[in-house]
Symmetry: D2
């Protein structure tokens, strides 16, 4: 890859990094992707409602969407394009038809996380001046994913690939919200081969993993407790304390037993309750998730969680409500595609370690797309592109080594090209 | 009071102190009371089944009763008398008829507590050689109560009292079990005036309180959780963990809100669960109590406790069962009798501080007897006889100042005598 | 009182009710008070920094203050006056000099609560169109307090009162933040008699309480836990979970033992933590309070709370920090002033029940002002003016019966007048 | 195997089943083993102190040992032999020298569990009259282990085996107490090949597993909390509540995070505290364990547990103490021996399913013996012998299918014989 091309990828990534937008609010991001597609010369692309089935989970309320829409407009995104995304219909699909051949997909996710970014001088984006300007943060490398997705399009166009390439710029991965509606949008119906991508995952720059598997099945939930208020000094006995119910639930959620059939996970990742120090709290919530190495383990754990919430509510004479916000199944990578990625990696001079198989230890709604393709008789693999990252994923000091951008583009492009050339 | 008489009271108290027997197991104690009654020349007395209504709460199982029965026999109690107490029918009522006049009652309780006594040299019973020989302990002064009850009988017999005196040696106060069946035994039906007695209560030697009130209403309960076991290593997910349910309940019991109408109390005084470190616990229990400054507060708190138990059980998919073990109402002392005790106190040279009214801050099933008499149109008061006690009530170093034994006998005898003389 | 005057009070109260502003953000409210003072013809008044000592607790951050300042400006408050309140320096003191005589104070508080108001048709402010427009709510009657304070000024000016009247429009009562700095402002140094006021408190319209006492001493705190984040799926073991620490603290805070010396209170009124469902929470907080019937009980309870926080932090390997936000002592009403209020009540045709003494069962930082005056040799009383209120204090359906506005003005004016006439 | 021999094994197993003795109290059991050894004609055996290194964990106190010693004597065990076991020195090693050849070991554990056995008629031992007579229960099949160990000796003596066979009748497996001292006793120094045995483990009758692995490393602990008592009614604030500390610890122990490197386990298997419902509890304990798929995971989890205990103690102003009671490492089975067992299984007509490898999902202190042999250059395997068991391991209705006794003896004998014949 040329130095110019590399520099362009870095600039593009920093542009995305400066404008992280959490799930369903990727207005500026989607618009920036479209701008780049047009620069590359791709005019067959679809945006928002065109790339998502109707049913979506975990969509923020209108006020919040409007706030981010305004922010995207103020940051220079095309107002007409933004209008098509009204209601949080973000994301895009780019199509490159290049002669006869297989239809190959590449899925990259594009959302940021609702957390502050480090201001520490040792944090590269802070010292180099491309730290987040939105209050959110690209703390999981999706800025690099969007960049690599665009880079692959440009590189494939210049390669010997024959067939059709579709790149799926998927929104709302972090809330496990975008995978399912994109999988069911119709755009995947003709995909024979699907690559998905993640950078980092504790693999250093120079290492690739051709097929990641063992994704944990996950269910995200939002549980509310409703009690009855009371003056904490004058009438404590009148209160039905929703915060006590929530605290009881948190204690017992984490205490759900481990499962002997495999890994399970529980997290009460965001909680809150009450309005003032002197009022017995009337409302509280737990925004959390359970995971399992298999769907059965996850479901067993979630059934336990339901009991925990019910019991906690009864203990403090509160009502409760559990809303499932997002779900993703497990998935495995197919050997057929692992082979192509592994070969492309072995052939690349920048790859110092080409690993065939890895486990992510986490969850991903790419699994919806992978499953959809596999159910149709196609093949899918989830590719890891190593990158030195100082802080862990989702922490304030996460960053990617920009060296890995070009490497990711190269390996994926070569694998995609190889797929087309392997056809009889 | 003569020195001989005082020495006798001290010896008697030490005898009781050496043989503490918890609720419904006062076999040796009852037998010792009978022996003393016979020494004094009282032959109109009733024991066990004769002094208790049929329905009793918190009676230990047969194995435990047998064990203590055997111990009492081994310690020299009259086997024939013991036989009448089979089944835990302990306690006695002594009757002294002494001419025309009112029927006056004195209630003293006689049970010990299931706790170890201090072996510290600074603990008087340890250094003087009359420490408990049973594993239980007179940690609440009921040894002094039994002693004073007997001392009053002897003193009244020598006084100008005319009428009938009944002394109620009540068992099972500590489990709030003996008050109700003794109140309903029929022996109180003709009582016009009832005195109840407690030593200590943080009042020093030389101080008396003529009328203690503000007893907290109390409910004692025994709750069991039943889950399902599982091997902690191989099948943790199979367990329905009764110990987690119990811990959840304990946390939330103590978290039941305070009440703005007055004092409330909660205690999970004895808990347990499980069988081995590597089995998910199938069984657990909470032996506890709630109290309230009024019966309403207690009932409100107990209703909350029921919710807590229900919720804790559901949280861990366990069954639960709540058994009410004992209950006692609130009660107040009547001014009519307070007067007599106060006058007797003022007249006694050993009394350095005569207080009219006090609050106990605790519960007592003497309230059943007091209420019974008051409901019949009679009067009742609960008298405090101060005694220096190094450790708090119910602790391992509780002890009474034996100086207060004679003083208690004197004041009560004088008050009882005054009652009879005040009759028209 | 004339019908016009009554109608004016009602209109004024509804104006305040429409614009509730929580502690230190009473910008519009203070400006409205000033406007009314000028209408009445009082030009000797002081605002903001002039009525508060330098040290204040629980002041919101600048962003929040600015937001409410802007809202006040948008709602029509005088921009110049608002500017003097920059930094949250709210509240006012009005002075009416009317010849020779005692200096009498009346303290009313003016802040709203950070809670939503009911939209139910049965809720009078909703159906009558004066529901809150700010998102906060006058759920404790401070709208009525401000109104009565202004009404008393107008009525006193027309009465036979001779002396000086100062009315203290105190901010930030709900966070126990305004009482101390206003007490120490210098404006109370010459007060010989201080009246404080509260409507409602479960007393119906037509009932007054001449002297409320038994205020609970209170300490409000803000505790933060700081742990370490981790990906909930991939690296749960790396997290030091601040939400678990917080939940542990909540469970044990409410479990702090009751105190036998008198009432105690604990509340974790507002809590929160974490950022996303799939991140092990790094931060959490508890905004709460403890109270005691005496300062000793409160301090004992707070010491326990410190232990609870420390232990909770250690259990989950987190750091913690406790910030004391507000404190108020206990206080009692002086018989000297109780007398005047009781007499005024007895003489008023609208008063159907004149009670001499009551207990509030809550806390109040009026106690700082009362104590200040009492320490200077003056007298203080806390007056209750009954009002039918459908919902409890601090709930979404709290409302005052506007009939009580005029009655409150009358009784207080009469009592103030009587004070001046009783001087030799 | 002859019918007589089978009947003998069944009778022997029922004898053991009737007399279950928990860890370090296997007095009757050891004596019964010796009687059988003598019947078989083995006179080279070692007992108690002769088969254990000095340092032992989790030994009960003298009173408890004496009680079980007496019970063993009353049940007919040889008093002289019992005397050598004084202090809980139980267990035995039998040695059969049979010409030149390898030294082969077989380890069987012999202790029962401290739990009640079912009395249900559907429970075979209950309906057939060999239910436990001791109050404990053979709920994990160690009665079958001891029986098979003895059966193998008799069968090996009649086989073509040449070499030395040592059978290790290990005590105290359930508390992970006996494995280490037996491993370090010197008797394993010359073992070249070690078989360990477990029946059941959810494998049905007819199935064998030649090499079980993936044992979880385990640490068992006994934690005590010491607070300060108080009268629950009169002085609740004086108490430092050890039961609240324990409940807090239980809640947070189970809440220790899962580990992404592999399985972990936590159990508070037996807990208790307090003495009476009306005393604030002064003492409480947690008898529990942590496990990990690796030693590192276990140690990480245990470090978290220490924090949990420390924090819980501080929260309630209690002291705490953690005693490690038992520990066992992980272990794997060696392919060299797996081969022999698998071949013997395949050749046996009663084996319907011969599995090569399995995972136990639990812990075992056989791992100490396996590691010891492996560290000396020898080989070890842990063999599973299936048996239909109606209830799960450690539950009240656990039972073994006696058909599997003979099968176990056959397969192990054949494998042992094959080892000797495979020597050059």
């Amino acid at each position: 890859m040329s130095t110019d091309r590399r520099d362009h990828l870095v600039a593009l990534r920093r542009d995305f990094h400066r404008h992280p937008e959490p799930a369903w609010k990727e207005f500026w991001t989607t618009a920036r992707i479209v701008t780049e597609l047009e620069r590359i010369g791709v005019d067959d692309y679809y945006v928002g409602r065109e790339v998502l089935a109707d049913e979506r989970l975990a969509v923020p309320d209108d006020a919040e969407l409007d706030e981010w829409m305004t922010r995207a407009r103020d940051a220079g995104a095309d107002p007409d394009l933004l209008e098509t995304m009204d209601g949080g219909w973000t994301g895009a699909v780019a199509v490159v038809e290049q002669g006869e051949g297989p239809t190959v997909g590449l899925r990259v996710d594009i959302d940021g996380l609702p957390r502050e970014e480090s201001t520490d001088e040792s944090h590269h984006p802070a010292s180099e001046g491309f730290r987040s300007e939105t209050g959110a943060m690209h703390a999981c490398g999706h800025d690099a994913h969007a960049t690599i997705g665009l880079g692959v399009i440009e590189a494939v166009k210049e390669s010997d690939f024959t067939g059709t390439l579709k790149v799926f710029f998927q929104p709302a991965e972090e809330v496990i919200g975008g995978g399912r509606p994109m999988a069911e949008s119709g755009h995947l119906d003709d995909i024979g081969y699907l690559f998905a991508l993640h950078v980092g995952l504790d693999y250093p720059t120079g290492e690739t993993v051709a097929g990641i598997g063992d994704f944990l099945a996950v269910t995200q939930f939002y549980t509310t407790f409703t009690g009855y208020p009371g003056h904490a000094g004058a009438r404590p006995e009148e209160g039905h304390n929703a915060v006590q119910a929530m605290a009881t639930a948190v204690q017992n959620l984490y205490g759900i037993p481990r499962h002997s059939d495999g890994a399970s996970r529980v997290n009460a990742g965001r909680v809150g309750g009450g309005t003032a120090s002197n009022i017995i709290p009337e409302e509280a919530f737990v925004h959390g998730e359970v995971r399992g190495e298999t769907t059965e383990i996850r479901d067993h754990t979630f059934e336990r969680a339901r009991k925990v919430f019910e019991g906690a509510a009864i203990s403090h004479d509160c009502e409760f409500d559990i809303e499932v916000e997002g779900e993703a199944p497990s998935a495995e990578s197919d050997e057929e595609l692992v082979e192509f990625v592994h070969d492309a990696s072995m052939a690349h001079p920048g790859v110092t370690q080409a690993t065939r198989r890895g486990a992510i230890g986490g969850s991903e709604d790419a699994t919806f797309l992978m499953q959809y393709v596999q159910d149709n008789g196609g093949f899918a693999t989830y590719v890891g592109v190593g990158t030195d990252h100082p802080g862990g994923h989702h922490t304030a000091t996460f960053d990617v080594d920009e060296e890995s951008l070009g490497l990711g583009v190269d390996v994926l492009t070569d694998a995609i090209e190889a797929v087309s050339q392997a056809q009889p």
